[in-house]
Symmetry: D2
Subunit: 381 residues, 4 copies
C-alpha cells in the first residue's frame, strides 16, 4: 500500500518546537511519508537557522519557500502572507501531498491553510481553539474553519473548536507536542552552568531569570517602550537575566532596538544576551531558571508542565488557559519588578498537565496514518 504523504509546513523556531516530536513520529511511522516544507523565518539565519537545526536533528527539508517581506509593519506582514501563499501553492502543486499539516497561528499558517483549502488537500491544524488576544487569534480560528482535522492541546480548546461548528470526530485532544520536549528534558541531568557556553556567555552560577518578549502586532508602535519596561523591571530585581531576541513579527525591529539600546546603555554584568538557542537547551535553561519573564507562550505551555514560575506581561496571552505558575503584570517596570519578586520568592510550582504530558507527537502521527481523510465537512450546529 502506498504510504500517505504528509506535508508539514514549518515556519519558525517556535513552530518547529511545537511540531518536532510529531515530525519524528511521522518519520518513524511505516504508513507515512514525511514531506517537510521550510518557510518564513525558518529560512532566516537571524531567527535561529531553523533549517540547519532541523537537518542536524535528522529532519531533511523537502522544499523551501522564502517569503518574509522585510519591514515588520502591518503592510509587510500582509504582503508576506501573499508571497507565502503563492510559493506554497507552487510547492504543493509539485509535492502533491495527501494531507497538509499547519501549526498554530502565524501568517504562514494562514497561507498554508488557504493553499490547502483551495487545492482540495485535507488540512490538519495543530493548536486550534486557544486564545491569544490579537491578530494571531483571529488567524488561529480562521485556520480552524479551513481545516479538516484538529489536534488540540487542551479539553477547553477542543470545546471551542467544537463550538465553532467543527465535527466532533475531527477533533483530537492530543496535548501539545511541545510538552513532549519538556517531558524529555526531565531525563537530562541539567548542568545549567554550561548551557550558555556555546553561545559565548560565561558560566551561569547565580540564580537567573529568562526574558523572552515578542511584539504584539496590533500594538507594534509600542513594542520598543514595552520591551524597555520589561528590561528595567527585571533590572530592578537585581537578578541575573538571560535575554532572548523576539520572533519575526510586525514590531520585532522595535523590540530588538529596545534590547540593543538597553544593552548599549548599561554595562552591568548581570544581563546576558542570546540570539538563539537549540530548543532542548532552551528548555533546560528555563527549567533551571527562577522565572520566565515576558509574553511568550512558552510560559503558559512548557513552563506550566515544568513548574517554572512565569511573569506574563501585557495582553499577548490574555485569554490563554494557564496554570498556577503564571502571574500577570502590565507593561510597567514597577509592576513587573514586583511580580518577579513574588515569583522568585514562591519558587517552583507543581507540574501541571494542562497542555499535555508527553506522547502528543506519536498520537498525531498515529491518527494521521489511520484517520479517513476528506476535504468535506459540515457545520455541526
Amino acid at each position: 500500500m502506498r504510504q500517505r504523504r504528509v506535508c508539514v509546513v514549518v515556519s519558525a523556531r517556535p513552530s518547529y518546537s511545537r511540531v518536532k516530536t510529531a515530525l519524528q513520529a511521522m518519520q518513524a511511522h511505516p504508513a507515512l511519508e514525511l514531506q517537510v516544507v521550510a518557510t518564513a523565518s525558518a529560512l532566516l539565519e537571524r531567527y535561529g537557522g531553523v533549517v540547519h537545526m532541523m537537518e542536524s536533528e535528522g529532519i531533511p527539508i523537502t522544499a523551501r519557500a522564502a517569503t518574509v517581506v522585510d519591514g515588520h509593519t502591518p503592510t509587510t506582514m500582509a504582503t508576506s502572507t501573499g508571497v507565502a501563499l503563492l510559493k506554497l501553492v507552487s510547492v504543493l502543486e509539485n509535492l502533491e501531498p495527501d494531507v497538509v499539516v499547519t501549526v498554530a497561528d502565524r501568517y504562514e499558517t494562514l497561507a498554508t491553510a488557504t493553499a490547502a483549502a483551495y487545492m482540495n488537500i485535507p488540512l490538519a491544524h495543530l493548536q486550534g481553539g486557544e486564545l491569544t488576544g490579537s491578530v494571531d487569534e483571529k488567524v488561529r480560528h480562521a485556520v480552524t474553519k479551513l481545516a479538516n482535522l484538529h489536534f488540540v492541546s487542551t479539553p477547553r480548546a477542543a470545546q471551542r473548536v467544537l463550538a465553532m461548528g467543527e465535527e466532533p470526530n475531527s477533533v483530537f485532544v492530543t496535548g501539545c507536542p511541545s510538552i513532549d520536549l519538556a517531558a524529555q528534558i526531565k531525563n537530562y541531568a541539567t548542568d545549567r552552568r554550561r548551557l550558555l557556553e556555546p553561545y559565548g556567555c560565561p558560566d551561569l552560577r547565580a540564580d537567573y531569570v529568562v526574558v523572552l518578549q515578542h511584539p504584539v502586532s496590533t500594538q507594534c508602535e509600542q513594542a520598543q517602550r514595552q520591551m524597555l519596561e520589561t528590561l528595567h523591571g527585571v533590572e530592578a530585581c537585581g537578578v541575573v537575566a538571560v535575554v532572548f531576541q523576539p520572533n519575526e513579527d510586525a514590531g520585532s525591529e522595535s523590540t530588538a532596538r529596545a534590547i540593543a539600546a538597553f544593552r548599549a546603555a548599561r554595562h552591568g554584568d548581570r544581563f546576558f544576551y542570546v540570539d538563539n538557542m537549540r530548543p532542548m537547551d532552551f528548555l533546560r535553561l528555563l527549567d533551571g531558571s527562577r522565572s520566565l519573564v515576558g509574553n511568550s507562550s512558552v510560559g503558559i505551555r512548557e513552563c506550566s508542565y515544568l513548574g517554572v514560575p512565569v511573569v506574563n506581561i501585557g495582553s499577548r496571552q490574555l485569554h490563554r488557559e494557564r496554570g498556577a505558575n503564571v502571574l500577570d503584570a502590565p507593561h510597567d517596570r514597577a509592576a513587573i519588578a514586583k511580580a518577579l519578586g513574588r515569583q522568585i520568592d514562591s519558587g517552583r510550582y507543581a507540574r501541571d498537565a494542562l497542555y499535555g504530558s508527553g506522547g502528543a507527537g506519536e498520537k498525531i502521527a498515529a491518527i494521521l496514518a489511520d484517520v479517513s481523510l476528506s476535504i468535506e465537512k459540515s457545520f455541526a450546529d
Copy 2:
C-alpha cells in the same frame, strides 16, 4: 469631522448584487466616504463587465486589481487568492480606509479579509454564518473569524456567528441587501416579453424557466456531467428555458463546455442562452418565470422573497436555510425533470422574508457610520 472611509471590495456579478444597495446608501450617507475596489471577475468582460455596470449605475471605481489566474483548477484558485492578496495589500496600502467591507465567501473575500486583518484595518463581513457545503463555506466562516463586524442575513446565521465566538455587539441581523433589489423590482410592471431583447433573444411569450448552475469546486471534475444532467432534465419537461453561464470558479470551464455541447447538439428553439444580464433585469426575468433550476443561491435567497419556485440541484446549497419555495433534486436528469414538473404545477409561493424584506443596504450604511471601529475582539465563550 472627517468622513469615515469605507472601502468595499466588489469581486463578481453576484457579490455586486448583494452589496449594491449598501453601496448606494454609503454614497448617500453624509458621514461616509465610499471607496470601491473592483477585482477578480468583476474586471472580466466575459463575466458580465461588472465594472461597466457599476459605473453606469453611478458607482465610480476607486481602484482596480486584476487577479484571476486562468485555468479554473484548484491550483489556479489558490494562486488567484495569492495574487488578490498581494494586489489588495497594495491597494489598501494606498487608499488607507477606516474600515474594509467584504462580501460572502469567494477567494477574493478571503484575500480581502486577510489583508485587512494583518494591516490592522477593521473588517466588516456581509453574509456570514450561512451554510453552503464546500470550500466556500470554509472560507465564509474563516472570514467571520477574521472580521470585526458582521452584517448577517438571518437570525439563524447570527446564531452561528455567535456560536463561533463573535462578540454579540458585533453581529447585526440586517437582512441581505440582495433582497432590497428584489423588493424594488416589485415596483416595476414586469414586461418579461421584452427583457431578453437587448441580449439578442426573441420575445418570451411562452411560460419559461431560468437555468443557472455553478460548478462545485470540490467536485470540479464532475461539473460537465452535472450541467448536462440539468439541461437534459429541463429539456424533458418541454418547457422554454433561459440558460445562464456559470460564475468563474474551479470547474466553470467544464460547466460552460457542457452548455456549449448541449447547445451545439440541439437545435430546439425552446432554449435560449444568455451570457449575462443586468441584475435588475435578471430579477425581473426570475420574477416572471415558472421556476429557477440549478444551484444558485439566488434560488434560496431572492426567490424565497419573490415566491418563485426553485428546483435546487445537488449539494451546493445543502445546508442553507431555505423557504417553502425550494425543492431539492440530485444530479439526475429524471429526478430533475420530475421536480421541475412539480414546481411548475405548484405555481407561485407566498413571499417569505427569511433573508430580509428590504432596507438592508441603508441599515448597513447607518451602522458603519455610527459603530465604534476596532481591530480588537475577544472570543465570546
Copy 3:
C-alpha cells in the same frame, strides 16, 4: 561524473515546437539530466493541452507553474509576469539546475530569465537577436542581456546579439529547432486529406489555405477588426480555409471573438475552424497548403524552409528576416485578398535554409553538455 541538470521552461504551444528536438536531444544525451517546467498557457486546455502532448511524446514534466492571469489586457500580462516570476523562483529554488533554458520572447521567457539572473543560475536563450516589432521584441532583447548563452537561428541574429555587447564565444548559430521538425515531416507521405479528421473536420480534398493570426499586444484594442479583415480577405479569394485560434496574449480574446462572430454570421462550407493541432500535423497541413495567411512566425520560419507561400499581415513580423516566400499585406481585406491571390498563383517556393536545415536540437544539447557555464560576462564593446 554528475550529469549537468538542464532546466527547460516550456510555456506555450509555439515555444514547445521551437524546443522539442532540443528536449529530445537533451534526454538522450548521457551528460545531461533534463528538467522540464511547464508553465503559462502550456498548462491550459484551451491552448492545446501542451502538457498532455509533451507527456504523450515522451517528455515528462518535472514541475508545473500555473501563472496566466485572465483578461488578456496589458495589465494582466504584466501581472502574469509577476506570478510567473514568483512561481518560477519557487520551482528553481527546489530544482537547483546547473543551467536554465528559456525560449523566444514571451512574458514567461522574461520571468524565467529574471529568476535565473538573480538566482545566479547560468541562462541559455533560444532565438535571440530576431526582430518582431512589439513588446515581444523588447523582451527578446532584454532576455539576451540577461542570458549567458545564446542559441540563435541565423547569422544576422547572431550579429545583432553581438552588437548588443554579448561575448562572441557565448553566441552559437545553431539554426532554429523548429526547422528540425519541418525537416522531419518531409519524410512523411503527406495525406493531407485525413489530417483534419481527428479534429472533427471533414476531408480536405480541395486546395486550401491556413489562417493563423495573433493579436499584437501593443495594438490590442484593434485585434478584433484586424482578424475580421483577414477573414474577409481570405473569403474574397473563394478558397477553402482552415482557421486556427490565436495564442494567449493581450488581445487574444478580441481575436477569438472576431473568429466566433465571423463563424456565426457565415455558413459557408469553405471555412473550417480548429482549436488546436499536434505540431507535426500542423506542419504537414501547412506543407500541403497553398498558403499561410496571418502573422505567425511559422510563416517566416518553418514555411521558408518548406517553401510554402505566406501572406504576412500587419506589423507583427515587420523587421524579421524572411525568405522569398513571404508577401506582406496591411490589415485591409482587399489588400489581403490581392496578396493571397498572387501567392496561390505563384505556387511553391524553393526551400530556404535561412532559419536552419535540421539538427539544431542536437547541436544545442551538445553545446550545453560541453560549454563552460558561468554567470559572469562582460560587455564586448
Copy 4:
C-alpha cells in the same frame, strides 16, 4: 492642456540621490504632473528612511509598495523582484501615468521596466549604457532594451546604448543628476567638523577617509571576508575612518556582520560608524575627506566631479568609466593599505566633468515635457 503625468519610481538611497534634482525640476515644470512611487529599501528605516527624507525635502510620495523579501540571498532577490512587479503593476494600474521613469540597475528597476513595458506605458531609463560587471549590469542593459527613452550620463554610455540597437533620437546625454547635487555642495562653506554631530559622532578634526562598500551579489558568499579586508586595510593606514552601512542586496547581511565584528573587536577611537546620512551631508563629508575607500559608484561618479581620491576595491566597478581620481585595488588588506597611502599622498585631483557638470535634472524634465512619447521602437541596425 492636460499636464503629462510622469511617474518616477524611487527605490533606494542612492537612486534617490541620482534622481533628486530631476524630481525637483519635474515638480517645478508647468507641463508635468509628478507622481512618486516609493518602493523597496526606500521604505525601510534601516536603509535610511528615504521616504522621510524625501518628504522633508518637499517631494511628496504618491504611492508606496513594500517589496523587499528578507534574507539577502539570490533567491530572495528574485522573489523581491516578483513582489515588486506585482505591486508596481497594481500601483501603475491605478496611477495611469503617461510615462514611467526608472533609475539605474536594481531589481526594482527591472520590475518597474517590466511592468511599464507590458502595460504599454512609455518608459524612460536613467543611467543606461554603464558597465558594472555583475547581475546589476545585466539588469541595466535589459532595462535599456525595455525602455523608450534613455537619459545617459556620458557619451561613452550613449554609444553603448546605441550599439544595443536603440534609436538615436531616443538617447539623450544629459549627464547624471547626481552631479547636480555635487555641483550644489560647492556652494556650501563645508564645516566638515560638525557634519557627524547629528549622527552621534564627535568632532571630525583630523584628516579622515570615508568607507563605503557593498556586497557583489554574484559573490555574496565572500562579502564578509571582502569587507573585513577593506576595514583592516584602512586601519593599517592609521587614518580616521567614517564607515557606512552597505545597500540592501544579496550579501548585505554578511557585509554588515563584518562591520559589526570589526567594530566589536576593536576599540580604536579612529573608526566611526554611520548608519545613514542625508545625501547632501554625505557629499560634503566626501568633499572634505582625504579619500573614499570601497566600491560605491559614488567614487566613480560624484568623486570624479569633486576631485576626491578614491580607492576602488574589487570587481564591482570593473568596467565603469572613471576619471584620474580612481585607483584600483583587489580584496586584499595590504594592497588596499598601499593604494590608500598613495591616494592620501596624492591629494585632491582636478575636477572632471565625465559624468556631467550640473543641470541634468532640468534637462531631463524639459525633455520629458516635450518629447514625443511612444511605446514603439525599432532595432537600429
